[in-house]
């Protein structure tokens, strides 16, 4: 708790805000990659306190938001099977597929359970040998090591009734897609601190060099975020497209080698569909071929289910930083957290949900 109050210290934050204001001389567009950072920016009102030259745009780093409709639809079909105990992190339960969500499957009798760790799903498999336990393994590089460990644990114990729906996504290919878009307006990045804690930041040097943008691995508390913004502005003002880590207490250049090793032993890079963006080459992880026995999509033969994304909302453009949530005509009217039309309204980390929860614009 000591750490928490330190990194929320109003005096430190105000000093950083003043320094940012003294440093900035012209408009800059900076993207925070991670939904956790978006949430923190909204919760503490950081965007209201920054000088007007700085525009923050919200990146694609909410795992719940970018999980494709297709994956949800496949998960729903599996969760409805009577022999299945379907397990998931809490906030995936409310994410609508094309017609349904996991809560509704549960209300119709599906055995859907919230777990806090994928290893609890392995425990369920051990305790229920006559049932099939499926874990919905979504997320960025951050959650992958735990999900990989679950597969390794099941393999070690010889559990044949545990499997995962793997829909992992990777940050660097998404940044590459944003930067290579002809409509890109992002000039600097706050990289997602917890992704970097696992993966390190070597990959970002290639991107910074290729697109000549500064990239700053950044934490999640207000002081962390303001430090990241200050460093990004300093680099932008100096025309210096470097990678500089400001999340020193969590991130080493090589990340966490043990976590990377276990992930690499279980998953391999693949093309991946992103909700609201489309398929990006080499942007995800899937189970290695030799671990196909743990692949729930193969086990329950749901690979045939293909769902096209509806064209009703602008989530894709929001996730790429091209538009803000209130640019959408449906925002707050047709589309609310109670009845989300698109990915970014679904999770509390999604940019639209964060705007709806904490915002703004309609303070009369």
């Amino acid at each position: 708790m000591k750490h928490l109050s330190e990194y929320r210290d109003a005096g430190l934050a105000k000093a950083l805000l003043a320094k940012i204001a003294r440093t900035v001389t012209r408009p800059w567009v900076i993207m925070e990659i991670c939904g956790g950072q978006t949430h923190s920016i909204m919760r503490h009102g950081l965007d209201q306190l920054l000088p007007p030259e700085i525009t923050l745009v919200h990146g694609p780093g909410c795992p719940v938001c970018v999980t494709p409709l297709e994956t949800i639809d496949r998960a729903l079909v599996i969760a409805e099977r009577p022999e299945v105990i379907f397990t998931s992190f809490g906030d995936m339960l409310r994410v609508p597929g094309s017609r349904d969500d996991l809560f509704r499957v549960k209300s119709r009798g599906g055995d859907v359970r919230m777990v806090y760790s994928p290893l609890e799903a392995v425990k369920l498999a051990r305790e229920n040998p006559d049932r099939e336990v499926v874990f919905l393994a979504v997320g960025f590089e951050t959650t992958a090591p735990g999900n990989a460990m679950a597969v390794k644990a099941a393999q070690r114990e010889g559990l044949t009734n545990f499997s995962e729906i793997v829909s992992h996504v990777l940050v660097p290919p998404a940044m590459d897609a944003i930067l290579s878009s002809p409509t890109n307006r992002v000039q600097g990045f706050l990289a997602a601190g917890h992704v970097c804690a696992i993966m390190g930041w070597s990959d970002y040097e290639r991107l910074a060099d290729k697109y000549q943008v500064p990239i700053v691995p950044t934490g999640f508390e207000p002081v962390d975020i303001l430090e990241g913004i200050l460093k990004t502005v300093q680099l932008l003002e100096n025309g210096d497209p470097s990678v500089v880590n400001t999340y020193l207490r969590a991130v080493a250049k090589d990340g966490n080698p043990n976590a990377r090793k276990v992930t690499d032993e279980v998953y391999t890079v693949c093309d991946r569909k992103w909700r609201g963006i489309g398929t990006l080459p080499g942007s995800g992880w899937r189970l290695r071929d030799e671990l196909a026995a743990f692949d729930a999509e193969q086990k329950f033969q749901v690979n045939e289910i293909v769902t096209e994304e509806p064209e009703v909302c602008i989530a894709g453009e929001i996730l790429q930083g091209l538009k803000k949530p209130h640019d959408c005509p449906a925002f707050g009217t047709e589309c609310t957290p109670m009845n989300p039309l698109g990915a970014t309204m679904v999770s509390s980390e999604g940019a639209c949900a964060a705007y709806h929860k904490y915002n703004r614009g309609d303070l009369t």
Partner: protein, 353 residues
């Protein structure tokens, strides 16, 4: 000649087993087992003059004033959690709902729905904590009912409690009576109950020291009303947390409410659990806290009276009623920005990362 007729004088049907380790369907069938359960387990815990009459109803002598009447049903899982169980929760919850009107709480009813197979020891433990909670609150249990349902039809035990109280003449508390300038007072730390239950719930297996705040607040309220009978409104921020209660206040009175983000008391271990799970303490249930709307000139005296009571030691002024943004609750963050505190959509769900 011996009598050819067999002698039935000593014969009887085999008696059903009366001493069971678990609740049987027959405990709810109205026969001997039902009577046994009530006589041996329930009545000794809840004995009051009215209950002991064993009539179909309780007949109460009430002092003059308006009748306050409330009901609540308790379905918590797990049944036992750090700091309490479904039993004291069921007593305190209804005592608080009645007391928030300013009423002197007089009597409660208790309806028990028991699941076949519920361990007798668990039922006994729950009844004991109901007895203790009622005694602590100074409230009589005057009527009740017990039903048993088949295994799988309920989650161990469901408890309904209803309560009546009498609002003294002259008191007229209402969520619709807040006026700009009024102060919003909170009686203590936020989110203790919700996080205590969440941290022991199956699937979230991390250890913590978080403990429920379940408590009857009628004594605290009496102290507050003694100091200031003009208190505008009182409410206990249970499900949906303080954010929901404050939004209800703002909507009912058509005023804005501005919170001071720095003032909100949250225990460090509760804050830690909230941070780990990605949950905002403003949206988490409390079972032993109240939020009061108080005229500005009385705020200091009411706050002092609250701090003087064991259940209000950590009371704070959490915000102010304003004429801006009617129907909306805003929070001034520690850094000086302002954001909306909205109604929650549904249950708060732990975030992925």
């Amino acid at each position: 000649m011996s009598d050819p007729r067999p002698d039935f004088s000593d014969m009887s049907c085999p008696l059903p087993i009366l001493d069971h380790d678990t609740i049987q369907l027959a405990h709810g069938a109205g026969g001997r087992l039902s009577a046994d359960l009530i006589d041996k387990l329930i009545l000794p815990r809840f004995s009051s003059y009215e209950l002991d009459q064993l009539e179909d109803q309780a007949v109460l002598d009430l002092p003059a004033g308006k009748l306050a009447f409330s009901t609540d049903t308790f379905v918590v899982s797990p049944l036992f959690f750090p700091g309490g169980d479904i039993g004291d929760l069921a007593i305190n919850g209804t005592v608080n709902d009645v007391a928030m009107s300013g009423a002197e709480v007089i009597a409660l009813s208790v309806g028990l729905v028991l699941e076949e197979g519920l361990p007798m020891a668990d039922l006994h433990r729950i009844l004991c904590s109901m007895e203790t909670a009622a005694r602590t609150a100074g409230v009589r249990i005057v009527t009740g009912d017990t039903k048993v349902v088949g295994r799988g039809s309920c989650d161990g035990i469901f408890i309904n409690t209803s309560g009546v109280g009498v609002v003294p003449t002259g008191l007229n508390l209402s969520a619709a009576s807040l006026k700009p300038g009024d102060r919003i007072l909170l009686s203590g730390t936020l989110a203790d109950h919700g996080m205590a239950v969440m941290t022991v719930r199956e699937g979230l297996s991390f250890r913590s020291t978080v403990s429920s705040d379940t408590a009857a607040l009628n004594g605290l309220i009496r102290r507050m009303l003694d100091v200031c009978p003009e208190i505008r409104t009182l409410r206990d921020p249970t499900r949906g947390g303080a954010a929901t209660t404050l939004n209800e206040f703002a909507a009912a009175s058509q005023v804005g409410i501005k919170l001071d983000g720095d003032s909100l008391p949250v225990r460090p271990d509760v804050m830690g659990a909230c941070e780990i799970l990605g949950i905002d303490p403003l949206y988490v249930a409390n079972e032993g806290k109240l939020i009061a709307g108080v005229p500005a000139e009385a705020a200091e005296a009411v706050l002092a009276a609250m701090k003087d009571h064991p259940l209000g030691k950590e009371a704070v002024v959490m915000g102010e009623v304003v004429s801006d943004h009617p129907g909306r609750v805003t929070l001034r963050t520690g850094l000086g920005a302002e954001r909306i505190v909205d109604m929650p959509v549904g249950e708060q769900l732990p975030r992925i990362c």
